[in-house]
């Protein structure tokens, strides 16, 4: 049914983003790795390269028709510690990758997952968390959330400052184990710290920023309908200051789109706990219906069936450390 009268402020709009078939993340490094110099970087990319090839082949094989659109990306940690400068570090990274035959199409800054321009990107995602309810949740009591934490089940009762037995003479309850809600008989209970606030300043945790990053790669991040972390073109010379570098830059003019239906992350195995935490977060993130529907429709038109659950769109390869 169509209507002749419209008010733009009364109707939600969602802008779409271009989508590749697959996005490949070519590893991740801590600042101490960068401190190891070009040699350490070369080692890293040499280890990634064969797996990147395998992932590329597997991804291409899953594309039913047409040329596969596959892009690569790399995330630099400039949030927790600042090391060197883009002018010095970025060319070093690109060079090291090139030596292993890898092309980095997009380069992103981790601090942009916390804040990009005027937008508190991490807060936008935090506001979309919908906690998985423990059995018995009837909507009457707000989710028993710990401020700044997110778990995959029910915590041990009585360990929270919020559920101190308030009434005088309440009997003490014996210890109970925590429980994973979706446990298959035995629990793997995880409690993820989303942020802390030393000196009143919000510091987002590495897993939380990683969750934001994965959502951006899936093209599902919006703020009031506008996409966030949209790639910008390579500015020429890299700046001296990290803040002067755009959130996501496109380094390869012929690259397929940054965001993709499905994403692969090729990571050293020490990132396994972080990515487990990312899954705990993404499983409890309600993604906006607009971009979800856009991605599903376009995939369908290309003959691709997308898993409707977000964590299932992410694949991992964990690599040996040494």
């Amino acid at each position: 049914m169509t209507s002749v009268f419209h008010e733009t402020a009364a109707e939600p709009q969602t802008r779409s983003v271009p989508l590749s078939h697959v996005s490949l993340e070519l590893g991740h490094l801590y600042m101490e790795d960068f401190a190891g110099g070009p040699e350490r970087l070369r080692e890293h990319f040499a280890k990634i390269a064969p797996w990147a090839e395998t992932a590329r082949a597997a991804a291409a094989a899953a594309v039913p028709r047409g040329r596969p659109r596959i892009s690569t990306c790399f995330l630099i940690d400039d949030y927790f510690t600042r090391f060197s400068s883009p002018a010095e570090l970025v060319p070093m990274v690109l060079e090291a990758a090139k030596e292993s035959g890898l092309v980095i199409d997009y380069l992103a800054r981790e601090s942009a997952c916390a804040r990009a321009g005027e937008t508190d990107v991490a807060r936008v995602v935090e506001q979309r968390l919908v906690e998985s309810p423990a059995p018995g949740s009837d909507g009457r009591r707000p989710p028993a959330g710990e401020v700044g934490w997110l778990s995959n089940g029910a915590r041990t009762p009585g360990t929270s400052p919020l559920d101190v037995p308030l009434q005088a003479l309440s009997p003490r309850t014996p210890w109970q184990p925590p429980r994973e809600t979706a446990a298959r008989r035995h629990s793997v209970f995880v409690d993820v710290e989303l942020w802390d606030e030393p000196e009143q300043r919000r510091v987002w945790s590495c897993p939380f920023l990683a969750a934001v990053w994965q959502l951006a790669r899936l093209g599902l991040l919006r703020h009031r309908g506008e996409p966030l972390l949209v790639p910008q073109d390579h500015p020429g010379a890299f700046p001296e200051d990290w803040d002067a570098l755009p959130s996501v830059i496109r380094l390869n003019e012929r690259a397929a789109a940054f965001s993709a239906y499905r994403i692969w992350s090729l990571l050293p195995s020490r990132f396994l706990p972080v990515e487990h935490a990312v899954r705990v977060i993404l499983e409890q993130t309600e993604v906006e219906p607009g971009p979800l529907a856009q991605a599903a429709e376009r995939a369908m038109a290309e003959g691709i069936t997308l898993p409707e659950e977000i964590p299932d769109r992410i694949a991992y390869v964990f690599l040996p450390e040494s």
Partner: protein, 334 residues
């Protein structure tokens, strides 16, 4: 046994509750302030509409549930999923919060990954048989919802409390008149012949109203549209409830007409212009308003009350004019 044509995952039944209250403010709040009150999240905008009346609606928030569905038979049907809640401010004066959900049959007998449920926001999936009659009667029952039973009203109440507690309202919180809150519990299920009908509209104690709908499948697939219809009914029922109360308390027809007029002035200032049935109702649901206009006759009762108030005002004005003129006439005769 399932209704013919039912398929797993597709809501067969919608349930919701709307709570309506006077916004805590002496004067109606400007449209821009209403937007501020309803900004529940930074990432999604408050929807603002100015025609045919001022209406601001919050983004929706989800609450996860894993409990049993309401029932009169005592069946303990487990359901897992999310309940939607949203709030709106109408003409800067009336605050509403709604909680609602669709009920679908789950595939398989186990609770799934939580992201499965987040991919179907506002739907709860049940394990086992879906007994529509039992759920509808349980949900529309007048008793208190027992612990462990899905409570859509609670999510609405929490939202109402949250908006009401907004610091932007501080400093102007005295209300112009005492008002009663109302709760409208509603259900909607498939119409056998595809035509929208009202099965029943009931006024119960303690401000509770119940509304049972039968709707075509296409309308059931748009829960937000159905919720908006129920919000509209709830707002007008609230207006009537409170105007009746104000007129009662004003003791119209008693000897002290000045007092009656004084006690009615908030109604005249704040309520009379809010009557606009069906203003935001989708075309496919607007015939249902006509049904309610026929019986119980919302607008008929409203017009009668408004006419009574206007008559009182007119009589009061005449008596004031008369009181002024009498001494003047005395002057001229001397």
């Amino acid at each position: 046994m399932r209704a013919p044509g039912a398929e797993p995952g597709r809501p067969e039944l919608l349930c919701g509750e709307v709570r309506t209250a006077l916004l805590h403010s002496y004067d109606p709040v400007p449209h821009s302030s209403a937007a501020q009150l309803l900004k529940l999240r930074g990432d999604a905008p408050v929807l603002l509409s100015e025609r045919p009346n001022l209406h601001a609606r919050s983004p929706e928030v989800l609450t996860g549930v894993d409990c049993v569905l309401p029932s009169v038979s005592g069946a303990r049907t487990r359901c897992v999923g999310t309940v939607r809640a949203r709030a709106c401010v109408n003409d800067g004066r009336v605050l509403q919060a709604a909680g609602y959900f669709g009920v679908a049959v789950a595939q398989g007998g186990e609770r799934r990954q939580w992201s499965h449920y987040l991919a179907r926001p506002g739907t709860v999936e049940t394990f086992g048989r879906l007994r529509h009659d039992d759920i509808v009667r349980g949900f529309l029952g007048t008793g208190q919802t027992a612990a462990g039973v899905l409570d859509a009203g609670a999510t609405a109440e929490r939202l109402l409390t949250r908006v009401t507690a907004h610091p932007a309202l501080d400093g102007n919180r005295r209300v112009p008149f005492k008002s009663r809150r109302t709760r409208l519990r509603w259900t909607a299920r498939a119409a056998p012949d595809g035509e929208a009908v009202i099965e029943g509209f009931t006024l119960a104690e303690g401000g509770l109203r119940t509304l049972a709908l039968r709707l075509p499948a296409s309308t059931l697939a748009a829960p937000g549209v159905v919720a908006a219809f129920c919000e509209d009914i709830a707002q007008h029922d609230w207006l009537l409830t409170n105007l009746v109360h104000l007129v009662e308390r004003g003791r119209l027809g008693s000897a002290d007409r000045a007092r009656a007029v004084r006690s009615l002035s908030p109604a005249i200032d704040q309520l009379l212009h809010l009557w606009m049935p069906g203003a935001r109702v989708a075309k496919e649901l607007s015939p249902l308003w006509d049904v309610l206009e026929g019986e119980p006759g919302f607008s008929r009762q409203w017009q009668t009350l408004v006419q009574r108030i206007r008559d009182q005002l007119a009589l009061h004005t005449i008596s004031l004019l008369h009181a002024e003129r009498v001494p003047a006439e005395h002057m001229t005769t001397h």
